[in-house]
Amino acid sequence: MIFTIFKKELKDTLRDRRTIIAMIVVPILVFPLIIGLSTTVTKHFAEQQKEEVLKIALISDKTDNQFSQTLASIPDTLGPKELIFREDTLGLRKDINNDSIQLAFFIPTSFDDEQAENKQSTVLIFHKGVNVGNKARVQTYLSEIKNTFLTQRFERLNLDTQLIEPIAEQYIDFSSEKEVIGKLAGGVLPYLFIIFGFIGCMYPAIDLFTGEKERKTLETLLTTPVPRWKILIGKMLVIVLSGIAAASFSLLGLFLGLRVFNLVDNPAIMTVIDGILTPTFILSLFVLLLPLTIFFAGIMIPATIYAKSFKEAQSVLTPVNFVVILPTFIGFLPNIELDYTTAFIPIVNIVLATKEIVAGTIDPILMIISFMTMVAVAALSVLFSYKRFGKESNIIS
């Protein structure tokens, strides 16, 4: 009988446009779109920035000073530039503000003498701080100029450059690339599938409980010789399946975006993704997803059965959504790890366990504790749903 109810509810749910959008279309498209769009826009602006000719004013009473000459000798591969010589700062603010020049160096008259005497010179740089790209370019130029003067100074003094670098550090990292990326980016995965798992559960839950109440079909269903718990489980299975499907489609969308459409041009990330997509990883993820979506269904059903309209159900579930999403941010914090305390905290344990799975450092005992904790809270939520579903004031509109 549970299967008969499940089959009918699934058919009904799959014919609901809202559910299909929330369960399949949005999860599968959102990440390729976000990644594709952000990568294209970033690339476009980076290239535009690289090719843009920077108009630089050099303010000095001597046009042949060493600073200007060194700057002029920097190759265009570090960014094309046009140098304009000026004798004073008159109208400089206006020119920078209207972008007729992008930045200006004020080189003191004493610059060449100070350098010859191995002294420090102060160069003023006028710019607009909001143009982040220009600031990055000027820092590249200055780094080149400083190196040139430093090398010349050391040669003049007949000194070894090691004098200013007493320690040469060499890091030997024992973490695998998978571990590093897993720990850094592994928090993204649970964030995705928890949010989409929740949204995937939400619409069928509202439709199968509040919707049935509104359409007065629940009353008819309750006149049939089917125990209420079977009706509840049949409906709940559809909600769980929908949540798992939405979470899976969101991950599929992410992998499609990264792997098939090559939206991220980073070989290290690609290697890690290839390494992640193993049967063990997928199985582990489903092991965690199952109690999680049951838990979602278990907390949504009492809310949707209580609500008298679709709108009311949405407003009841919105704060729940925030409560669920909040622990997912823990995945982005670097120093919180899965241990014998966090493994007992629902949702937080799923987030941290996924991070460990991605990094390949999951402790099987902690994984079992996390799973069992989620199973326990999922069971409690189902029990709570059953109690609320049995309440007459909830089922009769």
């Binding site: 009918k8 007065k216 009353e219 006149t223 010789p225 007459e392």
Partner: protein, 254 residues
Amino acid sequence: MIQVENIRKEFELTKKQQKENNTTDKFALAVEDVSFECQPGRIFSLLGPNGAGKTTTLRMLAGILKPSQGSIKINGIDIQKQPNEAKKVIGFLTGSTGLYERLTANEIIAYFAKLYGVSDADFEQRKEHLYTLLGMHDFQDQRIGRLSTGMKQKVSIARTMIHDPDVVVFDEPTSGLDVITAENIIKLISDCKTQGKTVIFSSHIMSEVDLLCDDLAIIHKGTIIHRSSMQDFRDHMQTKNLTEEFIRIINENN
């Protein structure tokens, strides 16, 4: 057969409802000390003004609500002790019955047949009989959302009767329906009687009661204030017609 003995139903009030009703009572009494019997092959009508307790009583008969006190037996089965056994022999139809808008008529009928445990052979036979009777063949594969009110009501009737119930409960079945659709319901109720089924229906349309009814009870403010056969009711009328007599009895008990 339906046997109702001293049933009482009270609903728990939320704090919001207490405030709205300006009361400190934790419970609201909907039905009290209601008893009656409906015999097979006879139509029993439960009459009463809005809010009298008709729907609550019928929902208890259909097993949707549980009585706070008293007992209900359907064909000798106690609905509180064996709800699913009792529900197998009941068909329940209301004027506001909802159907699954995204499913077709065929899918809905098949779904309810399965829920009632109708065998495949019986299902095909009963479906064919009902579809012919109600003229449903033309729209059997159309989704409910695309059907007219009349067509929907026919699907509801087929859904109610697909398991060939011995007891049929109609809660204001013609409420809000057009004359032609209402006529289908009247015919169905009449057919149920001919087939020897136990029929109970609630209504406040006296012409329907006059046409169909063998026995009646009038419920007001949750209690039965009159119970008799239709013949006795007609014989002892103190006014010109059924509607006036109904109003007189209600007013007498206000």
